[in-house]
Amino acid sequence: MVKKIKGLTLEFMPYSEIRDLDSGGRIKKILDVVLRGKIIVLQGRLRPDEETRLIEDTMAMIGHVKNFRGIELAVIGSSNGDSKFFQKLGQGVAKMLVGDTASMTIIGPASIVKEIKRNPKKIELMLKG
């Protein structure tokens, strides 16, 4: 499911979409979406080893993929505290998309998040819109 909010593209990925993939397949699927400039809202979360593999694969891509500077990663769930930008973004959008029951992982290209951080009002307007 792809949800467009005035120029910002969020892709909701139900856990069922990655459940049957191995770790490599999961990471590839996620990074494919991120490399298209979209922010993923993944239902549930990756395993700790998959999270570090995501970081490793991200690092391997920086310098090899034009203008790719890495990712922003946030897990919003029972065990996490406040996570600044993504929490605000996540809680609003996630509730809209999947309700407030499960933890979720939000992954986006760092360059897009940097742009939003420069002008936080922009994202607030987007979410209100």
């Binding site: 970081i55 310098g63 990663l73 996490n80």
Partner: protein
């Protein structure tokens, strides 16, 4: 992965039952610029009278895993020989333009960024070789970053003992309680690696961790 975890766990159990290893690998992990190398330097100065590596205000000063072997630390009547392993700071993003802000030329900044990405991959690969890890966090920053949670979650999944250091308590903005609240299941020691403040408490916590 699962096999490696079981293997490492079994090795630690075996060592604890049938005698100590000659050296205990102690890793310093954490985000960039938290003070991992500064702490390693403080420890090395305390016990072998020399520095471990260079430190800088520019992030990603440490871009390769480096280690110092046979560092003997004593605490009360106990003595343990460590292999100190300093690692590049782990992050999810590296933008060479950030280095340009510190006065670097574009080429130099791009080279540093490339080395930093490779360093992070190296850091992660070394995790499985650690007997215990000191996670060094900057106590002036929000501890709830996903990278911190990912590093600690990964170590916990591998059953590697963790000690959290809240560094930079010499700075006014430092908030050790916030780090304790973020990771209540781990011991947190507030120190200043730069001034040496509370370093004795660090050694006590370290020996409690690896006893």
């Amino acid at each position: 992965m699962a096999l490696k975890i079981i293997k490492n766990f079994a090795r630690r159990i075996f060592n604890s039952i049938f005698g100590k290893k000659k050296e205990m690998s102690l890793g310093f992990y954490g985000p960039p610029n938290a003070g991992k190398t500064s702490l390693a330097n403080q420890i090395c100065q305390d016990w072998i009278g020399e520095d471990f590596g260079s430190v800088s205000n520019v992030p990603h000063e440490t871009r390769h895993v480096s280690f110092k072997e046979q560092v003997v630390i004593t605490n009360k009547d106990k003595k343990i020989t460590f292999k100190l392993v300093d690692t590049p700071g782990i992050t999810t993003k590296i933008d060479y333009e950030e280095f340009i802000k510190f006065g670097m030329k574009k080429k130099e900044a791009q080279k540093r960024a490339k080395e930093a990405t490779e360093g992070i991959i190296e850091s992660i690969k070394w995790i499985e070789d650690m007997d215990a890890v000191v996670v060094v966090l900057d106590a002036t920053l929000n501890p709830y970053s996903q990278v911190n949670i990912t590093i600690i979650g990964n170590l916990a999944a591998r059953k590697i003992p963790i000690l959290i250091v809240a560094n930079k308590v010499d700075l006014k903005k430092a908030d050790v309680k916030k780090i304790e609240a973020a990771f209540p299941e781990y011991d947190v020691v507030g120190i200043s690696a730069k001034t040496g403040k509370n370093i004795d408490k660090f050694y006590e916590a370290l020996f409690k961790l690896v006893k």
